[in-house]
Structures are given as structure tokens and as C-alpha cells.
């Protein structure tokens, strides 16, 4: 069950090269194999290096490049692991058990370090420098972020996103999960698929769909084609430019994220609800609970840890929202959010220091949520 026992297994049964204690002939072949493996490791690394060169050459045939990439990528990695494992096996048993995990996890750790940890550190350093990175400015960028109204609006909006979106996603998700549970099995599958479908639509795609719902034509620019204005004018009102409506426009943008994420919340919560033992609900009914009390006092507490995981996952998504705002309003009319502001600073205003500072803010906000999430998940796994 637990990791220690796994390690113990490895110690007690280290994979041995075939035919080790046999004749001298066998022993010789073992050594040949080991020397061969020792040569394979640098050879494969060289092969990788040359393959990169080859793949970057614009003159070669594309199909050939793809084939080479697949063969060398998959085969090379396999060969590398095989050779390294063989070398580790040559070590004394106890040492081999200690080294082997690093042989397998090592490459992944290196890649993660290279593509994740290094950029993070680099971003933090950049955030302490000026617009073109030439001078160290201390926390000036952060001071600007938390004092200038432009950035404060982005921060405020992100906080509202982080509060509103998870509430609606989890609320709707829970409601649909519970109600769908009451439907006949086949209908339930259809309903849930339909609600899950928006998950498959990209944020940009979803934004385009909603753009047409919110769209507004000023006087003299043709008929109103937006769904929302169609309803609004049918009720006898004048058409409204929804995406420029102060403050409310933020909520219209959030609706898009809610539309795509509700399906996610529903699927996870639905399986959690189905996991609540029937006897528990029956016991509560016999104890005198109404259906609502059963739901609130038994079902909800039982699936609480799942709700937290769903909540935090969506919370993190809200902080990363960029595409919706970029497509719909470009951050105008007080709809800017942190991630969107970050891209604008980097690429429109060429202010690397400020952009990096916004990235650091994002990281600092998301990190504790992520840690809570992982902790929760581990707890859940532990009780299983």
C-alpha cells in the first residue's frame, strides 16, 4: 500500500543481469553488456544533440523529420533508461536501491527544473528590475501595482472573479449533479453530457459565442443581432451596449467562465454524490431528516473535501483567466484582470519589470491554494 513497502520489495529482489552466477562465458557476456551500456549513455545523448540539429534544419523533408523525431525520441529514451538501469544493477545491491529512483525520476526532475523552476526564479528577478531589465529598482514595480488605479482595477476584478465564479460553478454544478441523479439513467447521461460539453470549447471559442449574445449596434449601424438585446428590447427597453456597462460588464464576462466550468464541477461532484452510501441517507431519513436536511447535513459534509478540491481548482482557473477578457473587451471599460494586464504590460507596453511583477502576484496568490488543494487530495487518498 504505502511507499516504504515498495522500496523494500526492490531491496529484497534487485533485478539481476541474466545468468550471473553461471559459467565464465556468461560472466564475460555480462561484462560486455555493462561496458556496452556505459557506452550507450553518452552515445544516446550525442544522438539527441545531433537529432535536434537535424530537426531544426528547414531544408529537410517534414515527414522524415517527424519520423526521426518519433523514432529517436521514443527509442532513445528507452535505450537511455535501459542502459542506465543496467549500469545501476552493476552497483552493490544496497547502493543500487538508493540510486535507481534517481535514474528514473532524474530526467523528469531536470526537465521540470529547467522549464519550471528556472523561469520562476528568473521572473522574480525580472520583477525587481525596470522596464527593459537594465536596472535594479527594488520593489518599485510592486509599489506601482498596489497604488496606481489601473493596476488596482485589475487586482480588484481578479478578486471578484475569484469569488463569484467558483460560487456559481460549484452551486450550479451541485444543483445539476443532485437533480440529474433523480433522472432515469439514460436521460441523466444525456443531460450531463450536454452540460459538460462547454468544457470542450476553448475560452476563445466560448468568448466568440457569447460575444454574439452581448453584441450591440449603435444607431445607424444596422439592426440589433445580440440575443440579450433581443430579449431586452422585446421587454420594451432601448438596446444596451452590455460590454461597456460599468461593473456589470465584468459579470457578463464571468458568465462565460461559469458556462464552461460548471460541467467540470458537475462531473466531479456527481461522482462524489454517487459515492455517498445509500444506507447513510436512509439512516438520516429514519432519524427524522427531511430530504433537504439529508442533503445539507449528510450529503454535503460527506462530499465536503471534494467540494473544496473543485472550488480551489476553479479558483486557480479564475486567476489565470486571460483569453476571455482579451477577446471580449481587451481589458477596456474596467474589465482588466491580472493575467490580462500582465500580457498587456509585457507585449503592448514592453514593460518587462511590471509584467513580471504581475506574474509574481499571480504566483503568490495561487501557491497557497495549490498547496491546500494537494493536501486535501492527499488526505482524501489516505482515507480511501
Amino acid at each position: 500500500m504505502s511507499t516504504p513497502s515498495l522500496i523494500k520489495d526492490e531491496v529484497s529482489e534487485p533485478p539481476r543481469p541474466p545468468g550471473e552466477p553461471g559459467s565464465t562465458d556468461n560472466r564475460l557476456s555480462v561484462w560486455v553488456l555493462r561496458i556496452l551500456s556505459a557506452l550507450i549513455v553518452p552515445a544516446v545523448l550525442l544522438l539527441f544533440f545531433f537529432t535536434f540539429e537535424f530537426l531544426q534544419d528547414p531544408r529537410t523533408n517534414k515527414a522524415l523529420q517527424i519520423a526521426v523525431a518519433i523514432v529517436v525520441g521514443v527509442g532513445g529514451v528507452w535505450l537511455l533508461f535501459w542502459a542506465m538501469d543496467r549500469l545501476v544493477s552493476a552497483l552493490p545491491d544496497r547502493m543500487a536501491a538508493g540510486v535507481r529512483p534517481f535514474v528514473f525520476a532524474g530526467p523528469a526532475l531536470m526537465i521540470l527544473g529547467f522549464y519550471l523552476v528556472y523561469p520562476t526564479v528568473d521572473t522574480i528577478i525580472t520583477s525587481l528590475r525596470n522596464a527593459d531589465g537594465s536596472e535594479f529598482v527594488g520593489i518599485d514595480n510592486f509599489v506601482r501595482l498596489f497604488t496606481e488605479s489601473t493596476y488596482l482595477v485589475s487586482l480588484r476584478n481578479s478578486v471578484i472573479w475569484a469569488i463569484v465564479v467558483p460560487i456559481f460553478c460549484v452551486g450550479f454544478g451541485l444543483a445539476v449533479a443532485v437533480l440529474a441523479d433523480l433522472l432515469p439513467r439514460k436521460t441523466e447521461a444525456v443531460v450531463k453530457s450536454l452540460i459538460f460539453l462547454p468544457m470542450a470549447v476553448s475560452f476563445v471559442g466560448a468568448s466568440v459565442v457569447f460575444f454574439f449574445m452581448y453584441t450591440f449596434r449603435p444607431e445607424g449601424f444596422g439592426e440589433q443581432i445580440g440575443l440579450l438585446n433581443a430579449i431586452w428590447t422585446a421587454l420594451g427597453n432601448d438596446p444596451v451596449d452590455w460590454l461597456r456597462l460599468p461593473f456589470w460588464n465584468n459579470l457578463f464576462l464571468m458568465a462565460i467562465l461559469v458556462w464552461t466550468q460548471t460541467g467540470f464541477a458537475m462531473v466531479i461532484l456527481s461522482s462524489a454524490i454517487k459515492g455517498v452510501p445509500d444506507e447513510l441517507l436512509e439512516a438520516a431519513r429514519i432519524d427524522g431528516a427531511t430530504e433537504w436536511q439529508v442533503f445539507r447535513k449528510v450529503t454535503i459534509p460527506t462530499i465536503a473535501s471534494t467540494i473544496v478540491v473543485v472550488w480551489t481548482t476553479i479558483l486557480i482557473t479564475t486567476w489565470k483567466v486571460y483569453d476571455i477578457v482579451a477577446v471580449m473587451t481587451g481589458g477596456r471599460d474596467g474589465t482588466s484582470v491580472v493575467a490580462e494586464r500582465m500580457v498587456t504590460e509585457f507585449y503592448t507596453f514592453r514593460n518587462e519589470g511590471l509584467g513580471a511583477a504581475l506574474a509574481v502576484v499571480l504566483l503568490v496568490v495561487v501557491l497557497p491554494i495549490l498547496i491546500i488543494n494537494i493536501r486535501r487530495f492527499q488526505e482524501q487518498e489516505a482515507t480511501r
Binding site: 452510501p277 444506507e279 447513510l280 436512509e282 439512516a283 438520516a284 431519513r285 429514519i286 432519524d287 427524522g288 431528516a289 427531511t290 436536511q293 447535513k297 449528510v298 459534509p301 460527506t302 465536503a304 482515507t383
Partner: protein, 401 residues
């Protein structure tokens, strides 16, 4: 407190499957009635009907004088103990027990009084602040009982509450539940598939079975454990109740030289006229083949019964002798085809076996004095107490009386 009455109760599932037909049981106020039967016999369904968790589709169900067919579970004033305890995992033991009382808006001091009292009775005081996860199976069982007790309901419903416990604990909890019920005097309906549990706990035991043909009730017989054991109504009840179970063999009753004798598998034993006279219909079966039932304890080693006459004895060759110390089981075979009727087949099925396992001979088990137990393979003379024989119609399986 109240009585529970099933009046021609039936249950048909929406798909058209019939689970229950025409069951009538009256559980007296304060009585402990056990529903027992093989899996699929409908015992749990009946219990869940009383709880209000299953719809009653035919007949009437009373709790006290009130018809409760359409009363939701929360208004039935009953408490149920589930097989897997169904404790609320997010509440402490105390909260688990108090939950039902809180829902009824009972004042806090009264809740506390009842929970403390139940915890004292069940000796779970020290666990009151723990979560169910931190308790052993036996402790969870007690908490589940406590949750039922604090409610002071009209009736307890228990659905195989001991089946998740290990054998030793089960025996201990069996007597504890029995004592508790006696002390509280609460009407109790208890479901189990274990006939020992049924016999030891129930004031009365209802034996149920799966409906095999249209128009047959699930209820086979309801009586006190003693009567059920001594006077089973049919082969099913006879074979289900008792461990080791009753031996069956095809045989006849005939009169020879002015003496009544029962003949089976080459043996002839004389029968007391009185024993036959108690079963008047038996005379209609004279000379016809019937099924004869012999409880293992109707046998004894001949040396232990000095005044036995020769016409009560039979010589057998034990295939296997099991010495338990307090008693010994002698297994032997008789040259006669095994008794196979629908009743027997159903009992075999419940044990995960079929008629193939019986082979082509009749297998018997005798329970004898452990001090006189023979060796395996050693010819042994057994005495049969023929006044304790049971007689069944071989086609219908009903007892001949």
C-alpha cells in the same frame, strides 16, 4: 412502543418482479421477532418496508393501530440498525447519537441525558468524542445501537447488524442485544440469514423463502424457536433450522406382525404407536413412500442406552467422525438415493452447492456422546429415538401430521 402488523403484504417492483407475496405477521408490543431465510427470501425487503424505505405495493402495514403504507420514514417513529452501521462519518459518536434528537428539536439537556445514558448502557463513554473512523467494528456496532436507543422509538429494526463482526464478537453481541431488548422492552424486528442467531435471539422466528411459484407466500412458518425446531411445517423449515441440519431419507411406514415399523435404506425400526397416533394423517400414507427426517441428536451410541431394544438399533460404518469434545458427529452413508425435492434444492443452493454434491447415496450425520464416539471405519451400532422422527410428503414437502 407499538406492535407491528403485516396484513397480506406484497411487493412488486416497477419492472414487474415480485419480491413478496401475501405475508401476514403480527409482532406483539415488546416482542422480539426474527426474520430468517436464505439470501433473496425477501426478509430485508420486509424490514425496509417497515422502515418506509421500500414501498408496500399490496396489503396493509400497521405500526400500532396506524396504517403506515404511505407514511414517510421520518414520521414512523422507528429506529434502524444497518448491516454496515451507516454511522455519519463527519460526526463524532456523540453527534451521531444526538442527530435524530436534534432534528426533533429536543432541548439540549434532554439530548445530553439520553446520550449519556445510552453511552453508559453500551459502555462507549470514552469514545463519545471520536469519529466512527477511529472505532473498531464492535464499537461502531455499539454506536449504531446507541443511535437507535436514544430515540426511544416505537420499534427497533435491525438488518443483519452482526454480520460484519468476527465470530467471537458476534456471539457476545448476540447476547448483549438480547439482554438490551429485554431490558428496554422495545418491539424489535430483526433480520438475519444465520439460523443460530435467529434461534437464540428471537421470541419468535419467522422463516421466509424466495417465492418459487405463483400464489405462494414467502412466509413458511412463524413460531417460537422450540416449536420451529420440534414441529417444522415442511422440508424447507426442517432443513433450514438446526445445525447440523436434519437428515432426510426416503422410507415407508408399514405394519408387520402387529408392529408398526419405519423402513428406510434396508433398515427397519419399530415406532411407538403413540407417536404415530399424534399424526392422524400418517395412516393415509401407510405403505407409500414418504420422506423421513431424523435430527442428528435422535441418534445415540448403543452402549449409552442400555435398555434399548434391538428393533431400535441400526448398524452403520462411519465415514468420518468429528470429535468436538462436548459432542461428536458421526457421518455415515446409507444405500438409498438422496432426497431431492425443490425445498432441498433451494437449501443446497443457499449453501452454494447443488444436488450433484449429494452423490448417489444418502448421507447422515449423528450426534453422539463424545466419550463413546467410534473410530472412523469402525462398525457401530446406533440407537434411534423413533418418537422424534419427522414425516414429510415427498411431493409437496409438507409435514404429515
Amino acid at each position: 412502543m407499538a406492535s407491528i402488523t403485516f396484513e397480506n403484504v406484497g411487493k412488486v417492483y416497477p419492472g414487474g418482479t415480485r419480491a413478496i407475496y401475501d405475508v401476514s405477521i403480527h409482532v406483539e408490543d415488546g416482542e422480539f421477532v426474527v426474520l430468517v431465510g436464505p439470501s433473496g427470501c425477501g426478509k430485508s425487503t420486509l424490514l425496509r418496508m417497515v422502515a418506509g424505505l421500500e414501498e408496500v405495493t399490496e396489503g396493509k402495514l400497521y405500526i400500532g393501530d396506524r396504517v403506515v403504507n404511505d407514511v414517510p420514514p421520518k414520521d414512523r417513529d422507528i429506529a434502524m440498525v444497518f448491516q454496515n452501521y451507516a454511522l455519519y462519518p463527519h460526526m463524532t459518536v456523540y453527534e451521531n447519537m444526538a442527530f435524530g434528537l436534534r432534528l426533533r428539536k429536543m432541548p439540549d439537556d434532554e439530548i445530553d441525558r439520553r446520550v449519556q445514558e445510552a453511552a453508559r448502557i453500551l459502555e462507549i463513554h470514552e469514545y463519545l468524542d471520536r469519529r466512527p473512523k477511529a472505532l473498531s467494528g464492535g464499537q461502531r456496532q455499539r454506536v449504531a445501537m446507541g443511535r437507535a436507543i436514544v430515540r426511544e422509538p416505537a420499534a427497533f429494526l435491525m438488518d443483519e447488524p452482526l454480520s460484519n463482526l468476527d465470530a467471537k464478537l458476534r456471539v457476545q453481541m448476540r447476547s448483549e442485544i438480547g439482554l438490551l431488548q429485554e431490558r428496554l422492552g422495545t418491539t424489535t424486528l430483526y433480520v438475519t440469514h444465520d439460523q443460530t442467531e435467529a434461534m437464540t435471539m428471537g421470541d419468535r422466528v419467522a422463516v421466509l423463502r424466495k417465492i418459487s411459484h405463483e400464489g405462494e407466500s414467502n412466509l413458511q412458518q412463524i413460531d417460537t424457536p422450540r416449536n420451529l425446531y420440534d414441529n417444522p411445517d415442511n422440508l424447507f423449515v426442517a432443513g433450514f433450522i438446526g445445525s447440523p441440519s436434519m437428515n432426510f431419507v426416503y422410507g415407508t411406514i408399514q405394519e408387520e406382525n402387529g408392529k408398526l415399523g419405519v423402513k428406510f435404506a434396508g433398515h427397519t425400526l419399530s415406532v411407538d404407536r403413540e407417536a404415530i397416533a399424534k399424526r392422524p394423517s400418517l395412516s393415509n400414507y401407510a405403505g407409500k413412500e414418504i420422506v423421513i427426517g431424523v435430527r442428528p441428536e435422535a441418534f445415540e451410541i448403543a452402549q449409552a442406552v442400555p435398555n434399548a431394544t434391538d428393533d431400535q438399533k441400526m448398524t452403520v460404518k462411519p465415514q468420518l467422525v468429528e470429535q468436538l469434545g462436548s459432542e461428536a458427529y458421526v457421518h455415515f452413508e446409507m444405500d438409498s438415493p438422496p432426497v431431492i425435492t425443490p425445498d432441498i434444492q433451494e437449501l443446497l443452493e443457499d449453501q452454494g452447492a447443488d444436488e450433484e454434491t449429494l452423490g448417489s447415496v444418502t448421507k447422515f450425520t449423528a450426534r453422539v456422546n463424545p466419550d463413546l464416539a467410534p473410530e472412523t471405519g469402525q462398525e457401530t451400532v446406533l440407537v434411534v429415538d423413533t418418537s422424534k422422527l419427522h414425516y414429510f410428503d415427498k411431493d409437496t414437502g409438507t409435514a404429515i401430521r
